[in-house]
């Protein structure tokens, strides 16, 4: 009798705990992403990925998204496609409602899967420009200025700084698909404004560009150079242009030539005046970065790592912020449980989201998955990147025409 009484009591407790507690407990929202810490782009990965995880940690420290904790899973793929596919399948199995895709080939390989599985993928800085059109690519979100927008903004900056009809512009680009992506906009703008434009290809791996630089500086005598290079190439280009005596403040680089590592490769003193685009603000003196340093590191008694506030770290924070904001809007507008489709709607409801000035005023719509295509020009001054413009964009009509054309095929 006594035993039965005990049993009943235990069973009751188990039942109560089992049924009531999960109902009261907050819902954990799972999402994930890939990272490259050992492969071709590890220099970028080792800073982007902590940026993302630190932002998620910050959100959780502050009580999560509308009271729900976020659980972010990072899977390292070493920039290989097969491990990227594996990572995606693992995240999908574990119930991820949104995925950050790392690396251009992996983004390409996973795009059909995102569309089939209705799990939105964000691809800032990696994605293809034509996926800006959300009506054609509902589950792909570039979420940061694509190469087309970067080209538009670069040409706008050059125009704002005195380019007129007949100005000579050289576009030096990395000879791979991503590197060639900016060309149509550069060409369209040059034609519209009557600039003299010449294109210079740098074959991979981009460590040899003496002939192109001599061509640009001696024969073509360019007034401006618009550079779209990756990996080691930006550092080499800075050194070569400096050696050829080209003024650094006439060189405008796309986003992958605008990190600290690119400048360190050439030397900060050599690169003085070099101009680079950013799609997120950078530096330590920003509210969100200060908050991360305080809440994620100092409050835990940890030292703030050197990379906090660097260019690539800031891009990681952008990824985290967009994911968290999309999830927040999904929960707020469409309730629990969160699904991939709801997060897509959440992303598309992002409006004037700028994270206290850290991001451009991002507004994402079902038509525009890029969030406006804003960039900000930074210049190398001393040993840091200093913002020299506000958020700018340019030739939006040309960019959108191209997006429309690309998706018509």
């Amino acid at each position: 009798m006594k035993v039965r009484g005990w049993l009943t009591a235990v069973l009751t407790i188990v039942l109560v705990v089992g049924l009531v507690v999960p109902a009261m407990a907050s819902h954990v929202i799972k999402f994930g992403g890939q990272c490259d810490r050992t492969g071709a782009t590890k220099v970028v990965g080792v800073e982007i990925c902590p940026g993302l995880t630190d932002y998620v940690a910050l959100v959780n420290k502050k009580g999560g998204v509308l009271g729900h904790k976020l659980e972010y899973t990072e899977i390292e793929h070493g920039y290989t496609v097969d491990r990227g596919v594996e990572a995606y399948e693992r995240l999908k199995r574990d119930g991820a409602v949104a995925i950050f895709d790392y690396g251009t080939p992996i983004v390409y390989a996973l795009t059909p899967r995102h569309m089939d599985d209705k799990i939105p993928g964000i691809t800032p800085g990696f994605g293809r420009a034509d996926s800006t059109d959300g009506t054609a690519w509902p589950f792909i979100f570039p979420m940061a200025a694509t190469y087309w927008s970067q080209a538009g903004a670069g040409m706008q900056f050059i125009k704002d700084n005195g380019a007129k009809k007949g100005t000579k512009i050289a576009h030096i680009y990395y000879d791979n698909p991503a590197g060639r992506e900016g060309i149509p906009i550069v060409e369209a703008v040059a034609k519209k404004e009557g600039y003299q434009l010449r294109l210079f290809a740098v074959p991979p791996p981009g460590v040899e560009m003496g002939p192109q630089v001599i061509d640009i500086t001696r024969r073509f005598k360019a007034d401006w150079v618009l550079g779209h290079l990756f990996g080691q190439a930006p550092a080499v280009s800075i050194k070569e242009f400096k050696r050829a005596g080209f003024p650094m403040n006439r060189f405008v680089s796309f986003v992958w030539g605008a990190g600290e590592a690119n400048i360190e490769g050439a030397g900060w003193d050599v690169a003085q005046g070099y101009i680079g685009m950013q799609y997120s603000s950078t530096g330590r003196d920003l509210p969100v970065i200060r908050e991360i340093a305080q809440k994620v590191y100092k409050d835990e008694g940890k030292e703030v790592p050197k990379y906090v506030g660097s260019v690539y770290y800031s891009r990681g924070v952008l990824n985290g912020a967009i994911l968290a904001e999309g999830v927040r809007l999904a929960v707020q507008n469409h309730g629990l449980p969160v699904t991939g489709d709801k997060v897509r709607l959440g992303f598309e409801a992002i409006k004037n989201f700028d994270l206290q000035g850290f991001l451009p005023p991002m507004t994402v719509t079902a038509k525009d998955h890029e969030g406006g295509g804003w960039v900000r020009m930074y210049q190398v001054k001393g040993t840091e990147w200093v913002a020299i413009t506000d958020w700018i964009r340019g030739y939006r009509d040309e960019v959108m025409t191209l997006v429309k054309q690309a998706n018509k095929k």
């Binding site: 990072e74 199995r93 390409y108 795009t111 059909p112 089939d116 293809r128 000879d175 060309i183």
Partner: protein
């Protein structure tokens, strides 16, 4: 499988020449096929994706082993031949609207032609020099596809392929993709096993062991070297085409020099001159980095470390362990995993009465 020959007496030539002369070997092979067919019942979609990746790698590795392991022609252009197959399949499907089962042989055939063309230098040069010549092939093919928009479909060099269907059956999940990849892999495997036992295969082996001797006994070196390149590239092309249908996209960045090198690594670790060894190698190189993710991260969690805090260290540790294991396996058995498997088999053949 572990087979004992005792009590088996062949009375016909056909019986003696069969692929599996022993009844037990036949049954165990059929059992293995049955397990492969029933695998989807036991695995979740993530594990299925692993199975698919391993099968895809196996097809490519078998092809490379025919060239490098059996014919002795070192090639660094395998990735490029896969690229040819991949784009051919995509073009056949996108431009002509043909289904995947036409795209697969088409990809193989075009890759075989291209492969035979880039095999021509093998008639004059051997060994490391040939490796460099095929390396040139890798870059030439990559550059050509990358720069001719007619092939690559635009500046982005990317072609999207619609979901493949087979008799109205949409191949749109990892389970269904498994049944697209598995039959091709089985056919590729059995075909390779039979090829190396045939007249052509014997000629390949003769060329590998000493080409002058092979020429003296009447093997047409010109023909067989090019044939080896063609067959190997056919496999590569089919593997590349399958990648296209598997990912629903053709993109040259999947098939760079790094891919060629990793396929070479597969067959060296698996065992040069062995079809089963190619499969072992493909499984090893595909699975090990992924298993290490679980092992290393699980180990770190066991000691109370948080992933985010030491992610860099773990990533590099995995790489070190991966490299270390490759060296270890090659040091223990330079002839590869296949030989290791053979040693195990030989030990148990006479067990417990080994002498």
């Amino acid at each position: 499988m572990i087979n004992r020959e005792c009590g088996v007496y062949q009375t016909t030539y056909e019986g003696d020449m069969a692929l599996y002369p022993l009844p037990l070997a036949r049954y165990s092979t059929l059992g293995a096929v049955a397990i492969l067919l029933l695998l989807p019942l036991a695995l979740d979609s993530h594990a299925m994706s692993l199975a698919n990746l391993m099968l895809l790698a196996s097809i490519g590795a078998i092809g490379l082993n025919i060239l490098v392991g059996y014919t002795g022609q070192v090639s660094l252009g395998h990735g490029a031949f896969m690229m040819v197959g991949s784009y051919t399949a995509a073009l056949v499907t996108v431009r002509l609207g043909l289904p995947f089962w036409v795209g697969l042989p088409a990809g193989g055939a075009v890759a075989a032609l291209v492969g035979a063309f880039f095999g021509i230098p093998s008639l004059r040069i051997k060994g490391l020099y040939l490796a460099i010549a095929t390396l040139a092939g890798q870059f030439i093919i990559e550059w050509t596809i990358n720069h001719s928009t007619w092939i690559s479909g635009g500046v982005q060099s990317t072609l999207y392929v619609p979901t493949p269907t087979f008799l109205g059956w949409e191949i749109n999940s990892e389970y269904r993709r498994y049944f697209m990849v598995l039959p091709v892999a089985i056919v590729a495997y059995v075909a390779a096993l039979n090829l190396v036992r045939s007249r052509v295969g014997r000629a390949f082996i003769a060329v590998r062991d000493r080409d002058i001797a092979a020429e003296i006994i009447g093997v047409d070196i010109f023909r067989y070297k090019l044939l080896a390149f063609a067959v190997s590239s056919f496999y590569a092309g089919v593997a590349g085409a399958l990648w296209t249908y598997y990912l629903k996209i053709a993109n040259y960045e999947h098939f760079t020099l790094a891919t060629s090198v990793s396929y070479l690594a597969m067959i060296i670790i698996g065992g040069l001159g062995s079809v089963l060894g190619s499969v072992f190698g493909a499984v090893f190189i595909t699975l090990l980095p992924i298993v290490l993710v679980y092992v290393v991260e699980g180990g770190a969690a066991l000691f109370g470390f948080k992933y985010a805090a030491i992610a860099d260290f773990l990533a590099n540790l995995r790489l070190i362990i991966f490299g270390g294991l490759i060296i270890l396996f090659l040091a223990i058995e330079p002839e590869g995993l296949f030989r290791m498997w053979g040693n195990v088999k030989r030990y148990f053949r006479l067990w417990p009465y080994s002498y």
